[in-house]
Symmetry: C2
Subunit: 281 residues, 2 copies
């Protein structure tokens, strides 16, 4: 497995993969890899001739009061997991390589970024879209792999790829969960024992609503209430919304098309998100 | 010469060029081609294995009170000029092909777009950066060619290519002028005979300042005044500014680095821009 620190090295190695006729799969990450990332990597290894993983905690997608400095980091551990999962190349640049002096151009998502996490994290999705556009242009993959846990992010990236005519596929894979249902997230590492135990209430609520949906309940208010009733152990629920699976706009009073029930909640100081799809995409 | 109307056709043809080992040069235009465009095309033909010209009057870079509807258009004439200049492929999409329903992601330039034309054309450079990013992703050229007449546009595109890590070269070529000095522009077609005659006052002013600079004048106020004194025949001068050639920020009180003297003025209802570089880039 190769490790590159600069865009120039990365391009050289990817050129070599391409020269040998290998297609490129790409899994962008912020490191502190977990089984969710590993599932993305495995899908890429299966479908593509060479798999590239980026590990970069992107400062521009964190707000000033958010957890950029406390976000968990352990490159050696991550490299070991990548190697074991069959990754061909890890790209782990530092911030100055990604944002050299004078950097000023951004990618601005549209209305998809104005809902759910958007209003609670001003500038977050601009930061995400910009760094992902940059990484896509560095790697020029045939396909990139994202987890459904970050449903809104996936929708925004998919839209960006269409809108900016990037010739590649965006693949979204199901959320990988802990045995108690908690969605895998690098941020789970920041939960203390008590918060970790309580954190499962978010997915429990989502699953309760999904079970009701699957047995015929279509009333949005009742579905949201069913979910909310399970979430009392969270320190707060920032939002819990049932939205159109494509536009992310509120659905109601009845669920009459594919929809997503999405939640953001705090467990102690740790903000977690999760979602379930109602209907088939 | 091939003509494509859709992105899919375009990609197919460019894939065929690439398959034959040809590098791709790209000249994005809004049509109504003139000798300035032809110079860009010739440079591309000379340097690259295949030359692609796009002809698309991009609605998103025009303000609501601007000249989108009156912008001159004549595809047959343009195709003839392209063929004569050695173009391999003309891409002439319609607006729905470039901006399908649901389009919402934009490329936002930074401070380079906040000066000179920026404040007078809100959203203009966002529209330019977005469509150029799209065209670059459609064509994936090795090099793209722009005219120095649109100095600020060139600077913004160059910055975008760096900031978004697009693996390509941006080449800026000198402004091509009419015998009386007027910078070639598709918009010149909209000048009536009297305005056309008076329009040369803009370049006359720029040249007067440049002549003074070349013989040692470094005082910004005096250089600007020298230029301004020639521009009385314009119906109005929207701005006349001496700025840093790289940052586009005002230079003063002395010109102590490479700089650009840039002007926007109205001749009747037609807004024209022009510039000269002071010093060497």
């Amino acid at each position: 497995m190769l490790t590159c620190r600069t865009v120039a090295e990365l391009r050289g190695q990817i050129g070599a993969f391409r020269g040998r006729g290998r297609s490129i799969g790409f899994v962008p990450t912020m490191g502190w890899l977990h089984e969710g990332h590993v599932a993305l990597i495995r899908a890429s290894v299966e479908r593509c001739g060479a798999t590239v993983v980026s590990i970069f905690v992107n400062p521009t997608q964190f707000g000033p009061t958010e957890d950029f400095s406390s976000y968990p980091r352990d490159l050696d551990r991550d490299l070991g997991m990548c190697e074991a999962a069959g990754v061909d190349l890890v790209f782990a640049p530092d911030a100055a390589e990604v944002y050299p002096e004078g950097f000023q151009t951004t990618v601005q998502p549209g209305p998809l970024a104005d809902v759910l996490c958007g209003p609670h994290r001003p500038g977050h999705f601009r930061g995400v879209a910009t760094v992902v556009a940059k990484l896509f242009n560095m790697v020029r993959p045939d396909a990139a792999f994202f987890g459904q846990k970050d449903y809104q992010q996936s929708a925004i990236i998919r839209r960006m790829v269409l809108d900016l005519n990037m010739p590649m596929e965006v693949v979204t894979l199901p959320t990988v969960r802990e045995p108690d249902g908690l969605a895998m997230s690098s941020r789970n590492a920041r939960l203390d024992v008590d918060a970790r135990r309580r954190a499962a209430c978010l997915s429990r609520g989502l699953f309760a609503a999904k079970a009701a949906y699957d047995t015929g309940e279509r009333n949005v208010e009742r579905l949201v209430a069913l979910a909310r009733a399970q979430m009392g152990e969270a320190d707060s629920v920032q939002y819990l919304e049932l939205v159109d699976a494509e536009t992310l706009r509120p659905v109601g009073p009845l669920v009459d098309r594919p929809a997503v029930l999405a939640v953001a909640g705090f467990l102690g100081s740790v903000r977690l998100i999760d979602n379930v799809v109602l209907g088939s995409l």
